[in-house]
């Protein structure tokens, strides 16, 4: 079975704190993830989400703070609206809404975060690779 490639986008604050403490506690994490850390999930727009799929991601998970915990104010709300719109675009493209997920965490929820990563990985692995990969990406995979 083909290994799926996933992208996890972390907010620098609560979710990354969870990730840090999970790593310190040696919790096992799925190996098919690439991780990006941003200062706030409000930085992520629809274009960046679509670009992940354009570059061959099989799934994208946004890991954000709880609405009331945002250090900047509207970050998670911006995230919700972008995810809602990007999911509609993914639906139109036939990639499927479930390949884009957002989840929020408090700073202490390290085991919840690891579980979320495993659940997402299993869910996408069960769905298989994203059928809509542009030519360049398919070319790279054939060469590899």
């Amino acid at each position: 079975m083909v290994q799926t490639q996933l992208l996890g986008i972390f907010c620098n604050w609560s979710p990354f704190a969870c990730f840090n403490s999970a790593a310190m506690a040696h919790l096992k994490m799925p190996s098919n993830f690439g991780f990006i850390r941003v200062m706030c999930i409000g930085r992520i727009n629809q274009a960046l989400i679509l670009r992940a799929f354009e570059h061959g991601a099989d799934g994208v998970i946004l890991l954000e703070c709880k609405d009331e915990d945002c250090r900047y104010g509207p970050g998670p709300e911006v995230g919700h609206s972008n995810v809602a719109k990007a999911r509609k675009l993914l639906h139109l493209l036939g990639i499927g809404q479930s390949r884009l997920v957002e989840q929020s965490f408090g700073a202490h929820e390290k085991s919840e975060l690891v579980k979320a990563l495993w659940d997402f990985s299993e869910q996408i692995q069960a769905m298989g690779p994203n059928p809509a990969k542009p030519g360049q990406e398919r070319g790279i995979q054939r060469e590899a």
Partner: protein, 395 residues
Amino acid sequence: MKLDDPRIKGFIRDKSLFMCLECGKCSASCPRMLSGKEYSPRLLAHKLIAEPDSESFIENSVWECLTCGLCEERCPSGVQVNRFIMEMRTLLAGTKGLKGYRSHDGALHSWMRLMTSPDLKQDRLGWLGDGLKVAKSGPVAFFTGCAPYFDVFFSGIEVDTLSIVRDSIRLLNFLEIVPVVLEKERCCGHDLLWTGDRENFEALCRLNYKEFQAAGIEEVIVSCPECYQVLGQYMPEVIPEMKLKVTLLSDLLRREISKGGITFKPLKRRATYQDPCRLARMAGSCETPRALIQMIPEMGFKEMKNSGRSAICCGNSGFINCDAYSKRIQVERLQEAKATKSDLLITACPKCMIHLTCAMRDPYKHGSLSMQIRDLVSVLADQIEWSKGEERIGQ
């Protein structure tokens, strides 16, 4: 890439740049230059021929152009500026990578490139219904373009480009044409072509052509001028054996309505018309939309200061280089529209609609630019007389 590259020399020769008289009409009419941007088509031509060491100037200029075609319209020597810009962008993209600032962070180009996947299973026909009659196969297709995607992406500025598609099909149904609407249809690739991504543009052309063939299509009807330009002009360049008849919806409507028997309900509005560059200048269709507008009784019509083949661009093309200068072009264009004292701005291109609606919503203009903007097709579909005891479709 050096400027003595034989390919560039070839473009300069083929696109008649040597014919340039340096009269400066191009720069004097260029909306980008008039809005204050450091960009000049005349200087670009001069540097290409006489100062081949100014590489960075030439590269920047090539990506700055709006490709609205007004310079080409004015040029007394027949220099093919647009085609030259397109070829140069394709060449530069191939050697130095895609440049040009992509509006919306390139989201639109991303989904266009995602569509080059042959295994794509789009779910794009959710907007059908409303009693619209469409067929699964047949000789005539209607090309919907990116409308379903635009409406999601631009929901923030409340543009409704899908209504153009619905109204187009309503009008076709009224004329007893039941068009095929393809579920696997992809973007026509206009924006990729004009931003230098020739490879993915050609991939989209081939995929679309395969879908047309599979459904047995002989004629494609389009309402978007950009799709019309690509399907009619650039797709046959990619697929030489292509034997598809591409018809612009407004041409078809004019032909059918002039046969008689169809009337329009009066509309007590005062309207003006924004000519899309791809329609008025590049397809040469200025008269047909106006003839259709004139058919609506009691509607006042006033031309803007610059209209027809001299119309000013909506500020942006191919979703690159949207900046303060684009905004200035848009604001000036909307002021021209306001000066006609019209309360309805009719256009024929969904992109004009998106760009001008965006400019109208500028909070610092306090609504002084806002007016209703509608597509020609929608205005006609609302006013056409569904006589002979027929119920209006979709109501």
